[in-house]
């Protein structure tokens, strides 16, 4: 029935707007790819990519951003998994407050958050800008805040799909303590949710500009902007590299979630 209805109403209107959307999606990406390959006049080649991969500042930015992303993911998971677990188990009425708090980074624009962070932590009593190590702590705190809406939602959805209370009581009646309940029972059940949150976290940190720019740390974002000011072809290549990173992490997520779906189905059929 559904199929018949929809087939009947496929019209010029539908096709027109659909194609326009696809063009809007793909033309800029195609344009970037094409442009990035045209550094040498008359031929298509990877010269722009070679230049970027030979640039030590790119690798410095890459290494720095990856390190920051990994630490951010660890800190973020360490904060949110126990907190949300506790919320489910002990204080479910805290949910509205938690939801409002974790949505705040969408309300407070990044530039404002950074403004506040810099002005709060650049002078005593809470000074964190005296050394690069302390600045990095500030960076990670900022990244955790910025990626908080994604991490919270991912873990929250994962936690909802398992019966936290029953699992906890079962584990406790078998004699395990809080730490073991969390580490051996809850977290393995949340693997996919945590992975999902982590990958979005990773993509966010890798593309982030404002924090690193204003705290003057050598992340990938400021490197991109600087390159864009002086070069023509390399930025296009860099954009493609950046897209590949994002798609790689999201593709990975797709892969893992479809695999776990299959496993679930196998469990059901056997």
């Amino acid at each position: 029935m559904d199929e018949i209805m929809s087939r009947k109403r496929t019209s010029f209107f539908t096709i027109f707007w659909g194609i326009l959307a696809l063009l809007y999606f793909f033309l800029p990406i195609y344009g970037t790819l094409d442009f990035s390959l045209r550094m040498e006049r008359g031929i298509l080649g990877f010269k722009a990519y070679k230049i970027i991969f030979a640039d030590p500042r790119f690798w410095e930015g890459f290494r720095y951003s990856v390190t920051m992303a990994v630490i951010t993911i660890i800190v973020s998971a360490a904060i949110f998994v126990p907190t949300i677990y506790w919320m489910y188990l002990k204080v479910p009425q805290a949910r509205p407050i938690m939801e409002i708090i974790t949505i705040l980074p969408f309300v407070i624009p990044g530039i404002i958050l950074v403004f506040g962070l810099i002005r709060t932590f650049s002078r005593p009593p809470l000074q964190l800008t005296t050394s690069t190590f302390k600045t990095d702590i500030l960076m990670i705190a900022g990244y955790v805040i910025i990626s908080m809406p994604y991490m919270f939602r991912a873990v929250d959805v994962g936690m909802r799909s398992i019966d936290v209370r029953t699992l906890t009581e079962a584990a406790q009646s078998l004699g395990s303590n809080w730490f073991h309940v969390l580490a051996d029972v809850i977290i393995p059940n949340l693997r996919l949710a945590i992975l999902g949150g982590s990958l979005i976290c990773f993509a966010t940190v890798m593309g982030e500009l404002i924090l690193a720019d204003f705290l003057v740390r050598p992340a990938l974002g400021p490197y991109m902007v600087r390159l864009g000011l002086t070069k023509a072809y390399e930025p296009a290549a860099l954009a493609i590299i950046s897209y590949s990173l994002t798609w790689f992490s999201l593709g990975l997520l797709q892969f893992f979630s479809s695999r776990s779906e299959r496993q679930k189905q196998q469990v059901i059929t056997t």
Binding site: K8, R9, S11, F13, T14, I15, W17, G18, L20, A21, L22, Y24, L27, P28, I29, Y30, G31, T32, D34, F35, I79, P82, T83, W86, M87, K90, V91, P92, M98, I103, L104, P105, F106, V107, P109, G110, I111, I112, L113, F115, G116, L117, I118, R119, T120, V144, I145, A203, G207, L209, I210, F214, G221, M224, V225, G228, A232, A239, S242, T246
Partner: protein, 323 residues
């Protein structure tokens, strides 16, 4: 009634006494340090003077013509991209939900919307520069579509008879957007680039509402003799309106807070509030840090209004999505 409330309270207390909240303290402490303190710093800064006394003087910053210009520009960009992105996104979302687009098209568009809505930032600016910047691929293609007036004798004669100096236009490129005052590095370019992440966001937020439009409503109204236009005016649009308005507000806020794309695309030559605040962080362009806080406070106030209105509308909208 009050007794019921009291017993409910007591029950809640027994079930969730205060020490149950202890487990949330590490999270709250983190939030207090890295979200509440910074926000308070801006807030108190906006309403105190250099000596620390309470004052409303800092709000005078909104009389500063440069600040005013930045706010107007930001509001303009946000409103235009919310409208353009919202309209386009709505039509696309309608095509893939109700319009019966082919399955592959539906899949590609919904997958890509999820990606593109988070696309923003510096790479997006680079993509648009490479595609439709001065030397971009599409620009080059459009520039190539030229014709020489000498080859079109009749047209040249016609123009000459109209008093046009034909020898000036030997090479006409009617498709080159740059001859019509378009520039990627101006307002029109910013709108074009922002639309890239605005319309997918519209698709994502409006699709649930469109899926909530029941076929029975259409059938019922046509059975009662309504034309499709009347169905839209009296049934579909009233049901969808809260969702459409809410989604547009979300788009508005999304553009209003954006920084990286504008920075990388225009190098700060377009005076947006976010760019202005960036300059204030770097070098106190206002000459008064407290006025800078007031500037930031104004931005948060607008964002808060937008998001609160959005969630109120969203609550109204979900009435139709249940069941």
């Amino acid at each position: 009634m009050s007794q019921m409330f009291a017993t409910r309270q007591r029950k809640l207390w027994r079930e969730y006494p205060l020490w149950n909240w202890v487990g949330l303290f590490p999270f709250f402490i983190f939030i207090v340090f890295f979200l509440v303190f910074p926000s308070l710093r801006l807030f108190t800064g906006a309403f105190t003077n250099q000596e620390g006394g309470l004052t409303l003087d800092n709000l005078k910053v909104f009389e500063n013509p440069n600040v005013l210009k930045a706010y107007i520009m930001s509001l303009q960009v946000s409103a235009i991209t919310a409208f353009v992105g919202g309209f386009f996104g709505f039509l696309v979302a309608y095509s893939i939900t109700q319009g019966g687009a082919p399955r592959w098209m539906r899949n590609v568009i919904s997958t890509f919307s999820g990606l593109a809505a988070n696309f923003g930032g510096v790479p997006l600016a680079f993509s648009f520069i490479a595609t439709i910047g001065q030397t971009g691929i599409i620009t080059a293609m459009l520039k190539k579509a030229c014709f020489n007036l000498e080859n079109y004798g009749a047209l040249a004669q016609f123009l000459a008879s109209g008093g046009v100096n034909v020898s000036d236009i030997t090479n006409v490129c009617p498709l080159n957007p740059y001859t019509y005052g378009f520039s990627l590095y101006s307002l029109s370019g910013l709108v074009l680039a922002y639309t890239y992440f605005q319309f997918p966001l519209m698709i994502l937020t409006i699709t649930p509402a469109l899926e909530g439009l029941k076929k029975e409503w259409y059938e019922a109204s046509t059975n009662l003799g309504a034309t499709p236009a009347k169905y839209w005016r009296d049934v579909a649009l009233p049901v969808l309106m809260p969702s459409i308005l809410g989604a547009s507000l979300l788009l508005f806020g999304n553009a209003f807070g954006a920084y990286a794309t504008a920075r990388a695309l225009t190098g700060g030559s377009i005076p947006l509030v976010s760019i202005y605040i960036g300059q204030q962080i770097r070098g106190d362009v206002l000459g008064n840090p407290n006025e800078g806080y007031a500037l930031a406070f104004g931005m948060v106030a607008i964002m808060t209004l937008t998001i609160v209105a959005y969630s109120l509308l969203q609550r109204r909208a979900t009435r139709w999505m249940k069941s």
